[in-house]
């Protein structure tokens, strides 16, 4: 893979924990790669697994979904649903041969600014290793 490849990551963050954790990383001036682009949702339970597929199709090289730690969900249970749905999606994507390094899920609390950085770093590094997503990217095919 060429050295200059910079992966494009779409991340879905729950408003209460992970988005707040990323905000904390900001106020703490923790530095991390700029490849990550955040979409704020109220709860990780909001993340329709098809969003992940859609992001890959529309140009993401990697996708991250992050929510509250189990038991900490602002809405009590949303992250449990997210975990079940996205766990199944991950199994499906791996089975059709989408590099597992392209999709990650994490629990980042509002106080884990540093964990957020690590999660971003891991997601970006993994996607970089996996290389540009050719797969079923829409633009590559007859567009």
């Amino acid at each position: 893979m060429s050295e200059s490849f910079e992966p494009n990551i779409v991340a879905f963050l729950c408003n209460w924990c992970s988005y707040a954790g990323a905000d904390l990383a900001g106020t703490s001036r923790v530095q991390y790669p700029a490849n990550i682009n955040v979409i704020r949702v109220m709860c990780s339970g909001r993340v329709n697994p098809l969003f992940v597929m859609n992001a890959l199709q529309q140009g993401a090289d990697g996708v991250l979904v992050s929510g509250c730690h189990p038991g900490d969900c602002h809405y009590m249970e949303g992250n449990f649903y997210a975990r079940r749905r996205l766990g199944m999606l991950k199994d499906l994507m791996e089975f059709v041969g989408i590099d597992p390094r392209r999709f990650h899920m994490s629990w980042v609390s509002a106080s884990e600014g540093h964990k957020w950085k690590e999660v971003v770093q891991k997601t970006v590094d993994d996607a970089r290793e996996a290389g540009p997503f050719q797969g079923f990217r829409r633009r590559q095919i007859d567009w």
Partner: protein, 338 residues
């Protein structure tokens, strides 16, 4: 130079010759299915098939094609350039006939530039049938194993060699280009061909007498046979998408981010959305009306307008329907009900 003989050991050289000049499409096997694909360099297509799963209409009428591209909020349009000349190798006579039938529609009130340009740029090399498929019934609808309609060149398998008969100038040009690989066909060759074709015609097991059907169908509008037939229908697009004469399309804008394209893609009258109005009303609300429409379109409306049945008897819809909805069987029932 209208009938030539190509020895089978020259087959790959012949293909190579064509491929050198034009883009060659030929049947390619993908797992259990067969479809027309651009020939990869050096590849030699096998002509050992009854018919392709997907008809060659895909070459001139792609399942999806971009009409133009744009950026939201801006006026400029980018129109894609159509590809150059192509040769379709191994087209069955029924599928070639289908193209000439469909062409009537695309030439009708407004010329469809996308279709017609592709069609004009294509040279069709046909392959006469020697072993018809289970559900072939071309002879019932005006075709035959060696029908030449729509073809530029017809090939017939004579065992050791192929008989190549040029039918148009385009076909002649092909023969001329491959002149050094061919030899003049002896007189017996054509007779031999007739024998092959005759045997093939006899081997066609399914048939239906279509006389009276176009005229009779309007009278059967409310006949229970439609309900009976449609009850088992799944409403999928198999029969229509794989039909060589089905030509309906939808036009959609597809947007990604701030960019978009207007494109057209096959549509199927068997889908509920096909006739769904913006109001929510659907004039063909159930599979009964859709099934009735499919038969009527082919055997009634098209006949009224263009004086030809828009079915070439290729049998694909019968072969591939997952719930055994059988066109020949429907026609038999129509006939009975007349």
């Amino acid at each position: 130079m209208s009938a030539m003989l190509l020895n089978k050991d020259q087959w790959s050289a012949f293909v190579g010759k064509l491929a050198g000049e034009k883009k060659v499409w030929a049947p390619v096997k993908r797992g259990d299915i067969m479809r027309f694909e651009p020939l990869e360099e050096g590849a030699v297509p096998s002509l050992d098939f009854a018919n392709t799963t997907v008809p060659p209409k895909t070459v001139v009428f792609p399942q999806t094609e971009t009409l133009y591209r744009y950026r939201i909020g801006q006026a400029e349009l980018a129109v894609p350039v159509l590809e150059g000349e192509a040769v379709l190798l191994g087209v069955r006579p029924c599928d070639a006939r289908a193209m000439s039938i469909v062409q009537k529609l695309f030439r009708w009130d407004v010329d469809d530039p996308y279709y017609l340009k592709r069609r004009e740029a294509a040279t069709l090399v046909g392959l006469a049938c020697s072993a018809p498929g289970t559900n072939c019934f071309c002879t019932s609808v005006g075709g035959g194993p060696a029908s030449t309609e729509g073809l530029d060149l017809l090939m017939t398998d004579l065992g050791e060699s192929y008989l190549l008969e040029a039918l148009t100038d385009k076909g002649k040009a092909l023969l001329e280009a491959a002149q050094d690989l061919l030899q003049e066909a002896p007189a017996g060759a054509v007779q031999e061909k007739e024998k092959v074709v005759g045997a093939a015609e006899k081997a066609i097991a399914r048939s239906v007498d279509t006389t009276g059907i176009p005229q009779g169908l309007p009278g059967l509008w409310e006949h229970p046979l439609w309900q009976r037939t449609a009850a088992g229908c799944l409403g999928c697009g198999t029969c229509t998408f794989l039909c060589p004469t089905c030509h309906c399309f939808d036009i959609q804008d597809e947007v990604e981010g701030f960019e978009g394209r207007r494109c057209r893609m096959w549509d199927s009258c068997m889908f509920a959305e096909y006739t769904l109005h913006a109001s929510g009303h659907n004039p063909r609300p159930t599979r009964r009306e859709r099934t009735r429409n499919r038969i009527n379109h082919k055997y009634n409306y098209f006949v009224q307008k263009f004086d030809v049945i828009a079915c070439v008897g290729c049998g694909r819809c019968v072969n591939l329907c997952p719930v055994n909805i059988d066109l020949v069987e429907i026609l038999r029932q129509v006939k009975e009900a007349l």
